[in-house]
């Protein structure tokens, strides 16, 4: 039942990838901004959590009460001060600026925290597990990650489709010019979207830090995982993104079972295979 255990691990890991991806997907959907710095922002929040946990000696999950609002405020400010100035008909300027931000963040984190591997210590949560039938064990942490991912995506979905704010976000995404004529302040709304994105990013960052070692250089790889999850799922559909994350996670854990060195490679191969067979992803948004 080794295989079943690996499958389960992969599915649960998919939750983390969906968390990586949800904020990226939201920003692309609302303002057609491909945020290259997304992965580094995940790392930034992991380091912010590291600082908070060591300053106040609290559990990393508790640090979220501080990290989430901090990152949300940073997101709003970043959007208003930097990204909003680059948005227009051309998608290249925001792309370049976010690339610049990515480089800046990596180097700033390297300067402050050095290249050493870090870890957010979550105590017994790291080892707790549930014994399932057939001798499969399920770690509490991966399970929690998955549940949180489902909650975050469900929450985001509710926000987008059941609230006035969500309606406004979708209208800006559809037609930014006419949205203004509805009385919407696009600049503010973009700020709110980035705040939400970075709030999700901080949850992702904290789980990333609890699950494995991290250092300032691993952001871009997380960005790739997020991209892959989004594209497999079909651009624009959040539940699809979760499915995409799960497919990627399963591919990676199965790959790792064949040979630990194949983990990342297997994920990319499955991604490429799906891209070849079904380039629109599994749940493309129909317009």
């Amino acid at each position: 039942m080794d295989l079943a255990a690996a499958l389960l691990d992969g599915v649960l890991l998919g939750g983390l990838y969906a968390l990586f991806a949800a904020g990226l997907s939201l920003i692309f959907g609302v303002m057609r901004l491909v945020n290259i710095a997304h992965g580094d922002l995940i790392l930034l929040s992991a380091f912010v959590a590291l600082t908070v946990t060591s300053c106040f000696s609290i559990h990393p999950l508790f640090s979220l009460f501080l990290v989430v609002p901090l990152m949300a405020v940073l997101g709003y400010a970043l959007q208003r001060a930097v990204f909003n100035r680059t948005l227009g008909n051309d998608i290249l300027p925001p792309l370049l600026v976010s690339f610049g931000l990515s480089v800046f963040l990596q180097n700033a984190l390297l300067q402050i925290f050095r290249a050493d591997s870090q870890r957010l210590h979550a105590g017994p949560l790291e080892t707790w597990h549930l014994d399932l039938p057939f001798g499969i064990t399920m770690g509490a942490l991966p399970f929690l990650m998955f549940i949180v991912a489902v909650l975050v995506i469900g929450g985001l979905q509710l926000l987008l489709y059941r609230t006035g704010l969500g309606r406004a976000l979708r209208s800006v995404s559809d037609d930014g010019e006419i949205a203004q004529v509805m009385g919407i302040n696009n600049a503010h709304l973009y700020g709110v979207a980035m705040a939400i994105s970075l709030a999700i990013v901080s949850v992702a960052g904290v789980f990333l830090g609890i699950r494995a070692n991290f250092d300032p250089s691993i952001g871009p790889t997380r960005l790739i995982f997020a991209f892959e999850a989004i594209i497999i799922g079909g651009l624009g559909d959040l539940w699809g993104t979760l499915v995409g994350g799960v497919i990627l996670g399963v591919a990676q854990t199965l790959g790792a079972r064949i040979n630990p060195g194949y983990q990342i490679l297997a994920g990319h191969l499955v991604f490429l295979a799906i891209l070849t067979v079904r380039p629109q992803g599994f749940f493309p948004r129909t317009r």
Binding site: G164, R170, D175, I178, M182
Partner: protein
Amino acid sequence: MPFKLLETRGLAAFYGDFQALFGVDFQIEPGETIAVIGSNGAGKSTFLKSLVGLVRTKAETVSFDGQAIWGKPAYRIIAQGISLVPEGRRLFPSLTVEENLSIGAYSRRKGPWNLDALYTVFPVLKEKRKLPGTALSGGQQQMAALGRALMANPKLLLCDEISLGLAPIVIREIYEQLEKITSNETTVILVEQDVKQAMAVADRVYCFREGRVVLEGRPSDLGREQITKAYFGV
């Protein structure tokens, strides 16, 4: 001098380096319906977009309801009580009909219009409220676009070619509704290529050509020849 709800003096508008409007002087009194006519590319849509802050402009004055609105961002102008029914309707494709209408009320201005009031005037929109805006026929989409603009409870309603691409019978229906709707306090600027239609509903007419106002007056005072000349510039 009667109170002017909206007044522009020396209004110029630009798309990048291209100047689309030149020194437009325009006035409208509360309760008036004004038709803006002119051939394709004359600057009619640009004029409406200038009023709500969607294009870059220069002007001596643009005032609305006693306040200067020149240079203000669109969302502030909308909140002061101007609504636009844009050319080509431009419903939000990923929103349902009802969501399209509701988003019109984003600025939360008080007034007679809400979903119930709209559904009374346009029952077909209530029937189709759960559908995406794009599932409506052209005429129904135009009703929805008009309804969306009314949801903001505007003092001044700007309509850009609401008859474009619609069957004559549908046009008549929409204009009938519009007349009922605006019989209360709403002031209207109608951009219309159909000169006959415009003359029939307007208190005054402005004719644009190549970004300038070339004729202005009451339909009853304007001769057919005069209008043709202004319209085509021959």
